[in-house]
């Protein structure tokens, strides 16, 4: 009998407003408040509210149904400020105790790759935020975009976590299956849960594709596929926006979700959260990834965020400012610096999909990756000027 472990990612960045070189020194307001509110409203209405409502109903009706979430700090802030109803409904869900919350970096950042100290600070910030919002202390960690390597696992264990989520990347697993619990290489006893990308992507990407042999996907068909797996756990890791936003209501995605507890139970598939999985499943081997992996694209690497010169130049400038900006002890400055660390900003500068005519990331505010770079780098220059001024004043 196999268990499934659902984890949903909830995140929105602070998108930047159009910022020219002429704004430097004059305008320190970096965010496109109107656009951010608009997009937030849209995902709240299309996804968060209806899906939360459905999950609440399902948990009430099927006490065995369980899911887990990871929220970035930036989405929680925005919900709290602008969409209190959705914010509350997430709290309601957590109160059912059928929901596990994971920790991540507060700003959904790539900090682990560039600054281990900053990474730690952001994980702590996130941990505090989750505690204050949900009265909950996460035990399991997931890094931005499931970015992972052995060093990350080592550090996460030292920080007190019991498990970490990552991608079931073929290049690491080889012939082995993602449907087991592994121990992270180089750690005492940190468990790794690996995404079953085939079954996850059946929902996330293929659900509404009429050319896919599995189309139309129904809950009982999906349950029968999973029930054939004679292994320990199927990890279904998805962006939460899959429900209602990436897959519109017309595709039948909500009916599909609604039938899952019933159909899975019929086929004797259990529901567990990551913490329950690591308690119930035995470790079958070691997961050893010296290089970084992620859940992005076919490459499953960092190239979506750091694959070209624009991205490299921008992120290096950003992290070069670390010491100077922290020296200011100016919360507003440090907060601006951290919001710029959100991985989405680098994703918008990605050229590899743009060439194929596929600006496929939802809610990308830019026409092209070059514009994304120009706005980002101008803002960074303003931030640097402010930092220098602040430090000069402190010395006086």
């Amino acid at each position: 009998m196999v268990d499934v472990c659902f984890y949903f990612q909830v995140h929105q960045p602070y998108r930047l407003r159009h910022y020219q070189i002429f704004d430097i020194g004059k305008n320190h307001d970096y965010y496109d408040e109107k656009k951010n509110k608009e997009i937030l409203k849209r995902v709240v209405n299309k996804c968060y509210l209806p899906t939360n409502k459905l999950l609440l109903e399902l948990i009430e009706k099927h006490p065995e149904f369980k899911v887990s979430f990871s929220f970035s700090g930036t989405i929680l802030e925005q919900l709290e400020e602008h969409e209190p109803e959705a914010f509350e409904s997430f709290r309601e869900l957590v109160k059912t105790k059928n929901v596990e919350i994971l920790d991540e970096t507060y700003h959904h950042s790539l900090s682990f790759i560039y600054s281990r100290n900053e990474f730690k600070r952001q994980v702590v910030l996130h941990n505090k935020k989750i505690k204050s919002v949900f009265k909950y202390t996460p035990k399991v960690f997931r890094n931005t975009e499931l970015i992972y390597n052995n060093d990350l696992a080592y550090m996460i264990e030292k920080m007190g976590y019991k498990a970490v989520l990552s991608e079931g990347a073929d290049k690491i697993l080889g012939w082995r299956s993602p449907n087991f619990v592994y121990k992270a290489h180089g750690t005492e006893n940190l468990k790794v849960l690996l995404k079953n990308y085939r079954l996850s992507d059946d929902i996330a990407f293929r659900f509404s594709n009429p050319n896919w042999p599995g189309f139309p996907l129904t809950a009982d068909k999906y349950a029968s596929w999973i029930s054939e797996i004679k292994e320990d756990v199927v990890n279904l890791f998805l962006d939460y926006e899959t429900f209602g936003e990436h897959q519109w209501p017309e595709t039948g995605i909500f009916e599909f979700l609604k039938r899952i507890p019933e159909e899975f139970t019929k086929k004797k598939i259990g529901f567990k959260t990551p913490s329950e999985i690591i308690k119930s499943c035995k470790v079958v081997g070691e997961f050893n990834s010296y290089n970084f992996i992620s859940w992005a694209d076919i490459e499953r690497d960092l190239s979506a965020w750091l694959g070209n010169e624009l991205q490299q130049a921008a992120i290096k400038e950003l992290y070069n400012m670390e010491d100077e900006i922290l020296k200011t002890k100016d919360e507003k400055l440090i907060n601006d610096w951290r919001r710029l660390q959100t991985s989405d900003h680098f994703y918008y500068m990605c050229i590899k999909w743009f060439s194929d005519g596929d600006v496929h990331k939802y809610f990308n505010p830019y026409d092209n990756p070059y514009d994304a770079f120009i706005t980002f780098i101008n803002i960074l220059n303003d931030l640097r000027d402010r930092t220098q001024k602040a430090n000069a004043q402190r010395i006086k």
Binding site: I21, F354, Y370, F373
Partner: protein, 406 residues
């Protein structure tokens, strides 16, 4: 499929994009098995090319004195008169102005048709307004369908303004009487639908392309320079937005000390442009090279750190592609057809001088931006080919012939 094309110029005897486009399009059409007879007012002798080239003058046995300038497609009414008054030739054989010239072409075509010199054809395909009276005459005589291709309108040539009413009238006459109108971009299609008498379903977009197959990219040209170079290359006319270039240059030079602005080309706004450069105190930052040809054009692109095309109204615009071919990052106005088909460049509204300056500065300041634009731009232009536009034309021809015969 036999197509009779009416044009004005053909490489190597061309002055601009029209001849280049006709060359590329006809070459790809011939590859697809279309037979083309290309008629122009006067064909260069002993030029072997892929189409049957006919000079109306020669065939009609009209004594012709070599005056190539008289027939350049970018002639405006006023500079035609100027050119004509300067020539030493016998003025009697020419019309007094450009319009008379256009109608003389029409008379020649009629004569050629009636004496059977044009041979068989299934379709008439005419390029731009100067051929339209001849094309409509031919359509009426032969009862064959007419495709009128618009490479530029009088609105473009006048920076979005109405321009010469007689030219407009002739354009409208051709567009109205054509069975199908081809626009070289959506941008041009929109101008046509807004300003000329034609049904939307009769206007098709066939984007221009470029043919870089015979281009040698391995030019060892290298110059050592201390200054950053921002390039303007094109006719210095209202259409090309030289005034916006100068205003942006002012903003750029305030932030980047070692920058030079190179202007390649000539035109009726050159005096005004220089005057404004002096007013803004930028004369030591500007270099005016005049009109360049061939390898020198490529060198100008190669020397530049960024090429700017701030056109007010550009039906297509081939120069950004030439710049990209030379590995030069490109900033183009959104008011251009080429911006519909090119991705790896920066785009601005022509009037947004601040944004233009913002982008020029970014390219000059950040090596990463320069390098990525250069790399991906050079890759992108390799994908362009005349095969796609040729196929679109053939589809249009077939539908028209079927319509007439069916």
């Amino acid at each position: 499929m036999k197509v009779l094309m009416l044009g004005w110029e053909f490489p190597p005897f061309n002055t601009g994009g029209l001849g280049t486009a006709c060359y590329g399009l006809t070459k790809a059409l011939v590859n697809e098995g279309v037979e083309i007879t290309f008629v122009m007012p006067r064909a260069p002798q002993q030029l072997k090319t892929h189409v049957k080239l006919i000079g109306a003058e020669e065939l009609a046995k009209v004594v012709f004195v070599k005056l190539p300038l008289l027939l350049i497609p970018y002639s405006t009414e006023s500079n035609y008169e100027m050119i004509l008054s300067k020539t030493q030739a016998d003025k009697q054989i020419y019309g007094r102005n450009l319009f008379e010239e256009v109608f003389r072409y029409k008379a020649l075509i009629k004569k050629l048709f009636l004496q059977g010199s044009l041979g068989d054809f299934d379709i008439i395909h005419a390029h731009d307004w100067m051929t339209f009276p001849a094309a409509v005459e031919l359509k009426n005589l032969s009862k064959k369908p007419l495709v009128a291709q618009v490479h530029a309108t009088e609105f473009d040539r006048n920076g979005g303004n109405f321009g010469n009413p007689v030219v407009h009238e002739i354009e409208n006459f051709g567009i109205k009487n054509a069975n199908v109108v081809i626009a070289v971009s959506n941008f041009t299609k929109n101008i046509i639908l807004k300003n000329y008498e034609v049904l939307p379903e009769n206007v098709f977009v066939v984007h221009n392309a470029v043919d870089f197959s015979d281009y040698d990219v391995q030019d060892d040209f290298y110059i050592k320079k201390e200054d950053k170079i921002v390039l303007f290359l094109g006719r210095i006319t209202l259409q090309k937005g030289p005034d916006y270039f100068v205003e942006a240059a002012k903003l750029v030079s305030e932030r980047i000390p070692n920058v030079k602005f190179v202007v390649v080309g000539s035109g009726d706004m050159q005096g005004q442009m220089i005057k404004r450069v002096i007013e803004l105190g930028l004369i030591n930052k500007f270099l005016f090279s005049g009109f360049l040809r061939g390898k020198d054009v490529d060198r100008a692109y190669k020397m530049a750190d960024v090429y700017v095309m701030p056109s007010v109204s550009e039906p297509f615009g081939i120069t950004p592609l030439e710049a990209m071919r030379n590995g030069t990052p490109v900033i183009i106005s959104k008011q251009s057809g080429v911006s519909e088909v090119v991705k790896h460049c920066l785009k601005v509204d022509f009037w947004d001088v601040n944004e233009l300056a913002n982008k020029i500065i970014a390219v000059l300041n950040y090596r990463a931006l320069h390098n990525e634009l250069k790399k991906h731009g050079a890759l992108e232009i390799k994908k362009f080919s005349w095969n796609e536009p040729a196929r679109k034309c053939i589809k249009i021809y077939k539908a028209l012939v079927g319509e007439i015969n069916g």
